[in-house]
């Protein structure tokens, strides 16, 4: 019994062989990804990084139930996903607040969708609690148009948290924000998620964001025919802080590993697949600080100083 629950907790989210195909313009089909396998444990914070077009957002939409996979299934907490559910809250890239509703109206809408029979007072009380949690006390009656970008995204986070989801799905939630706001929001999300043990599946473009927030970082190769190259276990201690994170021993090891992947290996992985690679069990890698980690293609010189954003820009 115990081992069964353990297994269940280890494969809290289990992506089992999903594929996403679109009809290609000239007939036939384009395969964005196929035979994708991944397991996420309960309470884990997982970030997916990869270049545009690798199907990250498709994976997230399939997890949310907004899209159906062309093949395969996703099992969450022992149940196959058949559509959107209140168990899986989505934080959208463009906040997606209802502009005709106030802050409390937006959060309350989610609360009343979860607890259909709750009284108005209960709904408002709960909505207020989550608005407080994301630091928006005093702004309850404002409309989204009166809020800054960061505040709107906070409302989106409050809305997602208020329904007590089993999983939070975030699609580049901070990409539209300025660096300062992004930093404070990352702090908030980390504080809330670590204190509640929330399971999170997040897509990001930002290597530093992934290192700061994630327990595990899933690396996806370029699409079409994208695959999960490996899962990087974040070696940094759980109680890392933003202002000291770059002094952690393994920080540069893991950062370089991720940047190397995005710069070089995301393109070449398919051709230089390591021996024994199994799509069903993507290798778990743990970059360590003391040894210079050179995971693959060591003969390829890689400019480690290129900052990630300029790489992303250059690629597009």
């Amino acid at each position: 019994m115990d081992t069964a629950t353990n297994r269940m907790n280890e494969r809290f989210i289990s992506i089992e062989g999903i594929a996403r195909r679109y009809p290609a313009p000239g007939g036939g089909t384009t395969t964005i990804f196929e035979d994708l396998w991944l397991a996420v444990a309960r309470g884990e914070f997982v970030c997916v990084i990869g270049h545009s077009g690798c199907g990250k957002t498709s994976v997230l939409n399939i997890l949310a139930g907004l899209e159906a996979p062309s093949e395969g299934v996703v099992v969450v907490d022992g149940q196959a996903i058949e559509g959107p559910s209140l168990d899986r809250a989505v934080i959208f890239q463009g906040h997606a607040l209802l502009p005709w509703r106030s802050v409390i109206g937006n959060v309350g809408y989610a609360v009343s969708s979860r607890w259909r029979k709750a009284s108005r007072a209960e709904i408002e009380e709960r909505a207020k609690r989550f608005i407080d949690l994301v630091g928006l006390k005093g702004n309850e009656l404002k409309k989204p148009a009166e809020l800054s970008g960061g505040m709107r995204q906070r409302v989106g986070i409050a809305r997602a948290l208020s329904i007590e989801p089993k999983i939070m799905l975030m699609d580049e939630p901070f990409s539209a924000l300025d660096a300062l706001t992004r930093g404070t929001l990352q702090d908030e999300v980390r504080r809330i998620c670590t204190s509640t043990g929330q399971t999170v599946f997040m897509i990001t473009h930002d290597v530093d964001e992934a290192i700061y927030l994630a327990d595990k970082i899933v690396l996806m190769t370029n699409g079409p025919q994208a695959m999960i190259a490996e899962v990087v276990e974040n070696p940094l201690p759980k109680d890392r802080a933003r202002d000291t994170i770059h002094r952690e021993g393994d920080y540069y090891a893991v950062r370089n590993h991720l940047v190397d992947f995005l710069v070089a290996r995301s393109k070449t992985f398919r051709d230089e697949m390591p021996a024994g690679y199994d799509q069903r069990k993507p290798p778990l890698v743990r970059p360590a600080g003391s040894l210079p980690v050179e995971p693959a293609a060591p003969e390829r010189p890689v400019a480690k100083t290129i900052p990630f954003p300029s790489v992303a820009g250059g690629r597009d």
Partner: protein, 280 residues
């Protein structure tokens, strides 16, 4: 700054109004030097004296006088051909209200369905495109023949002319609801009815109200023409009747009031529109 702009615009409006009235008054005042404008024989036939000949066109003062007469007792009823102006306006507004309300009841739900279903949109589009440009008055004979009641026919014409802008705008507004808002509703497992009323309707409301505003404008244009055709009661009939009476002053009073009521109707809809519009 805006206040002073409003003030200046107001002053300019008043000045323009005064200038317009003055020009009008001068244009209708007979010049003394040119002598009698009419042939005396003809004048006698018409029952007016040639001395101090008066233009048949009333001046602004005459119209103002007539307007005052009419406003003093708006609701008298001396039989079919002599009713107060207020009464006539109420008849017209009543017809518009009934026809328009029916059109809202039909156009908004059907537009909703059309907007939700791309299939229905495509299938019904040719019908709408053909029916929309038909002048509402062209329906009149058909309406009179089938309904056999002139007053109901007028209401039908109002209905048919208000239905299209609302139908098209509702369908468009509903079809254009942002996907991310619908996705929010989907992830919150909101049922179809609740979704229709809490997401789609508020999101499409500004577009729907735009259609309603266009419709009320058309309806008010059409009622005047329809009542001229149908006769009996209403402001359109009043104008036509006063033309038959050769009372140009009353015709002008009627025209002015048609304009004022049309403006008020538009203002009401504009206010409603502002209430449902949301900034993004």
């Amino acid at each position: 700054m805006t206040k002073s702009l409003g003030l200046r615009a107001g002053i300019l409006s008043v000045v323009l109004f005064v200038v317009l009235c003055a020009v009008w008054q001068i244009a209708v005042t007979p010049s003394a030097s040119t002598g009698p404008a009419l042939d005396p024989e003809y004048a006698k036939l018409m029952g007016i004296s040639t001395a101090g000949a008066q233009s048949a066109m009333p001046g602004p003062l005459d119209v103002a006088g007539k307007l005052w007469d009419n406003l003093k007792r708006p609701f008298y009823d001396n039989g079919p051909n002599d009713k107060g102006l207020g009464l006539q306006l109420l008849y017209s507004i009543g017809r518009v209200a009934i026809g328009y309300a029916l059109a809202v009841l039909v156009a908004v739900p059907i537009g909703f369905l059309i907007g939700m279903s791309p299939l229905a949109y495509r299938a019904l589009d040719p019908f709408i495109q053909v029916l929309k440009p038909i002048s509402p008055l062209a329906w009149m004979p058909l309406a009179l023949y089938t309904i056999k009641d002139s007053s109901l026919s007028a209401i039908f014409v109002i209905f048919i002319c208000s239905v299209w802008p609302m139908l098209i705008n509702t369908a468009f507004g509903v079809g254009a609801v942002r996907k991310e808002w619908l996705n929010v509703a989907r992830t919150l497992e909101v049922g179809p009815w609740r979704r229709a009323f809490t997401v789609i309707l508020p999101a499409a409301a500004p577009t729907i109200l735009t259609g309603m505003r266009i419709s009320i404008g058309i309806a008010w244009l059409v009622i005047v023409a329809a009542e001229m055709l149908v006769g009996g009661t209403g402001i359109g009939y009043f104008v036509w009747n006063e033309w038959n009476n050769l009372s140009i002053s009353n015709v002008i009073v009627g025209i002015l009031l048609i304009g004022v009521v049309g403006m008020v109707l538009d203002l009401i809809l504009a206010r409603l529109q502002r209430r449902v519009t949301f900034p993004e």
